[in-house]
């Protein structure tokens, strides 16, 4: 069963949404503040599949919650819902990392259809990701230079040191390795590794790259394996030419 988080401080609207979403067969969680939403979504292994996020919340507003989530690497599909329907508000929502935006008052059927759309897109990308990433991989270990990545253990071995990798770091590294030697755009990484599409802040990728470089580069400021391709994204090189 898909789990929906509704972040809404107007109790009447929250109750109405809960009733309808439960009738549609979702498991619904409701929180009233941005802080509570962040806590729930930033927990490891958050069970939430899709988020309905109100903008005008007590304390941290919806825009702040949205960008904090995306910067922290939480890319759960999110629909922002608000009384403010001005174009600049909508643009601000998308810039913060929202996947969709709906102004109040909204039509119930449209809200439900958009939520279904977000879930469907996520499922499609997940399937295509399984095909493109998981298949061409004979062993779950990749060795380059004096380093080896153990995907099954989520570990990176550099000489005698062992670095634990998060699932996302491992997936990103695997994707880069599979496309060894070819430049890859940030957008492609978001789509293929995270299963996200459009309008997400691609700078979040850069934080991951910085972390990966810290593991696999002898000198992270002068990368030799994980190269920046200006204006495009990144390129992985397994065996760089001698210095």
């Amino acid at each position: 069963m898909n789990q929906i988080l509704v972040v809404e401080d107007e109790q009447h609207i929250a109750d109405g949404l809960r009733f309808n979403l439960e009738a549609e067969g979702y498991q619904v969680h409701v929180v009233e503040t941005g802080e509570a939403a962040l806590e729930l979504l930033q927990a490891p292994e958050s069970p939430i599949d899709v988020v309905v996020l109100d903008v005008m919340l007590p304390g941290k507003d919806g825009f702040a919650v949205m960008s904090e989530l995306r910067q922290g690497g939480q890319f759960v599909p999110t629909l922002m819902l608000t009384a403010r329907g001005h174009p600049e508000d909508i643009l601000k929502g998308f810039a913060a990392g929202a996947d969709d935006y709906l102004a109040k008052p909204f039509e119930l059927a449209i809200l439900l259809a958009r939520l279904r759309g977000l879930l469907r897109r996520r499922d499609w990308l997940r399937t295509s990701l399984n095909h493109s990433v998981a298949k061409p991989e004979p062993t779950d270990t990749f060795t380059f230079g004096d380093k080896s990545v153990h995907f099954d253990l989520l570990e990176l071995h550099v000489r005698d040191k062992v670095f634990p990798l998060t699932l996302m770091e491992a997936n990103l590294l695997r994707y880069l390795i599979q496309h060894e030697g070819r430049p890859i755009s940030r957008k492609a990484m978001l789509e293929e590794v995270w299963g996200l599409h459009e309008d997400t802040d691609t700078r979040a990728i850069d934080n991951f790259i910085v972390r990966l470089r810290r593991y696999i580069e002898d000198e992270p400021v002068r990368p030799r394996h994980l190269l920046t391709i200006r204006g495009v994204g990144y390129r992985f090189v397994a065996a760089p030419a001698a210095k």
Partner: protein, 296 residues
């Protein structure tokens, strides 16, 4: 009404700017023409310079004020948008639910209750905004009649208890001797209920509000004392300004348009009375006073 006021002030600043530029021009022409008379030139130069400097300072102050006022107005429009659209969104959501889904009898009754509450909220916001529009015309005639203030307060207290489902001991009323005032019933009712609503709204979950009326000399005084969030000393006067809301996290936690206390103060003034607030600061609760002259 609001727009013309804004336009007038913008026109004033444009005229003021043109005036300042002409002063500069006079200075330049004077410089050329009076170059040979050094003593006169010095005095005139200093004089004009002082005028320009004080003018620029004045202009800047007024501009900053105008910008502040604009910002407040934007915040007000946001708040009103929210206060108008949220109940409509809610009513619409429940109507669509009732239309498209099988809802059992109990739920259906609950939905009707929610929709009624939302329409009341919507109506209250609309009335607040319309009343503020009328307050602008200070000379507009009041519909005066002899009213018993204690009776009116009693009625407003009972209404607030019913709407917010508050126990009588959490919202108490202690009337003084019955006094009549000459007043516009609708206006005084709005002022009284705004004060009670605010006390409840800013009390949080533990409502403890005491409402009193008392006759002092030629006036009748209504006191609304709450144990809620309180008001910082610097904000005690400002809270009565139109659109003003105490800045900080509270404004976003407790929703409102920033019109309620402005209406209270305007009503008091129009009836020859006054309204003020006292508070020991944030966290110590606050007391609001509405003082109106007794009918002769």
């Amino acid at each position: 009404m609001i727009t013309t006021g804004r336009r007038k002030s913008i026109a004033f600043y444009i005229a003021f700017g043109i005036g300042l530029i002409s002063v500069i021009l006079v200075l330049y022409i004077g410089w050329i023409q009076l170059n040979w008379r050094h003593g006169v030139l010095l005095v005139l130069g200093i004089l004009l310079l002082l005028i320009i400097i004080s003018g620029v300072i004045l202009n800047t102050i007024s501009l900053v004020r105008e910008i502040n006022r604009n910002e407040q107005k934007d915040a007000f429009i946001n708040a009103v948008t929210h206060e108008l659209k949220t109940p409509v969104a809610s009513i619409r959501l429940y109507l669509e639910t009732l239309q498209t889904r099988a809802v059992d009898e109990e739920k259906r009754k609950e939905f009707y209750r929610i929709m009624l509450e939302d329409s009341d909220r919507l109506l209250a916001t609309i009335e607040q905004v319309l009343r503020t529009g009328r307050m602008g015309a200070a000379s507009r005639g009041l519909n005066l009649a002899r009213i018993d203030l204690s009776g009116l307060v009693e009625e407003c207290v009972a209404r607030a208890r019913a709407i917010h489902r508050i126990a009588p001991e959490s919202l108490t009323f202690h009337p003084g001797a019955p006094v009549s005032i000459m007043a516009d019933l609708e206006e005084v009712r709005a002022a009284v209920s705004n004060l009670i609503e605010n006390a409840v709204k800013y009390s949080g979950k533990d409502v403890n509000v005491r409402v009193e009326t008392e006759q002092i000399d030629g006036y009748v005084l209504m006191r609304v004392k709450d144990a809620g969030v309180g008001i910082p000393k610097t904000e005690l006067k400002r809270v009565f300004k139109r659109f003003h809301r105490v800045p900080g996290p509270l404004a976003s936690r407790v929703k409102g348009t920033g019109l309620g206390l402005f209406i209270v103060r305007s009503v008091a003034k129009r009836h020859g009375g006054r309204a003020w607030a006292e508070s020991e600061g944030s966290g110590y609760g606050s007391t609001f006073f509405l003082q109106l002259p007794v009918a002769k």
